[in-house]
Symmetry: C2
Subunit: 294 residues, 2 copies
């Protein structure tokens, strides 16, 4: 009986799974709905199993084999013990290791080489790996962390638009465009911001990049400040020895030209995606099991 391994990339939008043989060769892939173990662990479980089942189906393997598979799951919220224990105890796999979504992204991007990833999306976090040593820097969420993230950049834009409205800072086509979106009424901006979630602030981030391309002075000021926070975090991972830096996340290609010259020679393109990374980690992690069975 062959031993199958599963790599699973579970996120707030969707969950993807790949089934592979013991050497990590992918046999089939599957996808399902959101797998947010913090806000909705029961649906996360359903979607994890759904994605795994779909992967087995694509590979023409009997779904009953799921119960004997070893799975490595990369999940957001993996640092919150309660949620992890709840989910881990209910998974139908023979073995299941839960790691961070960042770690499988790093494995996918860098393969087995040392280096660091900067994940620049709605949030921001940096992960550096040297051999078996993995370190997380930043993150901490929108409220007092995630500097350089889309949410923080969008937040800064709204704040700057109010400062421009009050003539405390100069206005620009960008701040004019923001105010126009809110009926030129600062109270509408305040009301939006009072209840907005990080993703809703983040939707303003691409606007900053777009206006900066047309030399909007406020956009350039905001982007320089935001890029500086990223450069400062990259300085830490470089000082600790990382010589390959991979920018990931939706804002990665937008930010890259705004980052410091000193970092440009260190940037590398990602080798593969997070799902591939989860399979590769699973293959390494469960290689011993496979040898035992062989």
């Amino acid at each position: 009986m062959p031993h199958y391994i599963l790599g699973i990339d579970g996120g707030g939008t969707s969950c993807r799974a790949a089934v592979a043989d013991a050497k990590g060769r992918i046999l089939g892939r599957g996808k399902s709905g959101a797998a947010n173990i913090l806000t909705d662990p029961d649906n996360a479980l359903i979607h994890i199993v759904g994605a795994a089942t779909a992967a087995f189906e694509e590979a023409n393997i009997a779904p009953s084999e799921i119960g004997s598979a070893s799975a490595l799951l990369g999940l957001a919220g993996s640092n919150v013990g309660d949620a992890v224990h709840y989910v881990q105890g209910r998974l139908p796999f023979a073995k299941a290791d839960i790691e961070s979504d960042g770690l499988i992204a790093l494995q996918g991007a860098l393969g087995d080489s040392d280096g660091a990833v900067a994940i620049l999306g709605t949030g921001s976090i940096y992960i550096a790996r040297q051999g078996s040593d993995v370190r997380y820097i930043g993150g901490w969420g929108f409220q007092i962390g995630d500097l350089g993230s889309g949410a923080r950049l969008g937040h800064a834009l709204l704040q700057e638009s109010l400062l421009a409205f009050d003539h405390i800072h100069p206005s620009s086509p960008l701040t004019d465009a923001v105010m126009a979106e809110f009926n030129s009424d600062p109270r509408d901006v305040v009301e939006f911001a009072r209840v907005a979630r990080p993703g809703e602030f983040g939707r303003f981030a691409p606007k900053v990049f777009a206006f900066a391309e047309h030399n909007d002075p406020v956009a350039i000021t905001l982007l320089r400040a935001s890029a500086q926070t990223i450069d400062e975090a990259l300085d830490v991972v470089v000082a600790r020895g990382s010589r390959r830096l991979c920018l990931l996340g939706g804002l990665a290609p937008l930010y890259r030209p705004w980052l410091a010259k000193r970092h440009q020679p260190l940037f590398v393109e990602p080798e593969a995606d997070a799902l591939t990374g989860s399979v590769a980690l699973a293959a390494k992690r469960f290689a011993a099991d496979a040898r035992e069975r062989a």
Copy 2:
């Protein structure tokens, strides 16, 4: 029958009232509980009437006279129409005008002269008056406004403490002290910040001033940045003609030495408090009524 006027200063902690004769000479004062018309309008009404009744009692005037008094109320949240209409329609006074808490503070601080006040407490707002023209600058609340406020300064300190924890920015005795308060666990800081209200962030602000006095480099950096936001707002009111600036609020005496040299010659001490200001505004506003009756 004499015509009495009432000045009322209603805030989130307490409500104060003063009854005066038609010329604005204060005859008695009273105090009661919180008068937050946004979060609890019914209790605000009870406490407004309670403070007024206490003022009439101290002045040895029959409480039944309250119904013929003209009142000017300075209330936080006076820019929210629904709350104002609800409260105004239920007040027992012959006349009742509701103004902002800031306007009565300005009237108290500057008397009838032109100038501006900067109110620096948990929040921040600037009000400038030239003759009958009154302009508000800033404010807008903690989420995307209130720069320089205690809440924003405390927030900046927590963020900086996490940056120091990650070695992205230098640590200092101040950031060490903050982390020690949170068991040196950044997750505890994040959890606090996730649910903290502005006042809870604001409680960290005095610590920044205290450590800056002992030359803590992080405290000094944070305070300079925060003071700069105040100086920039003061530049706007000065550019519009204000030549007298009065700093009010709990952080006013702490901030003053950190503000720019160009503003120092313009600072004046407040003449009186907000309650006195509400009485003075009431006396001006209702002078015509008093003459009619005389």
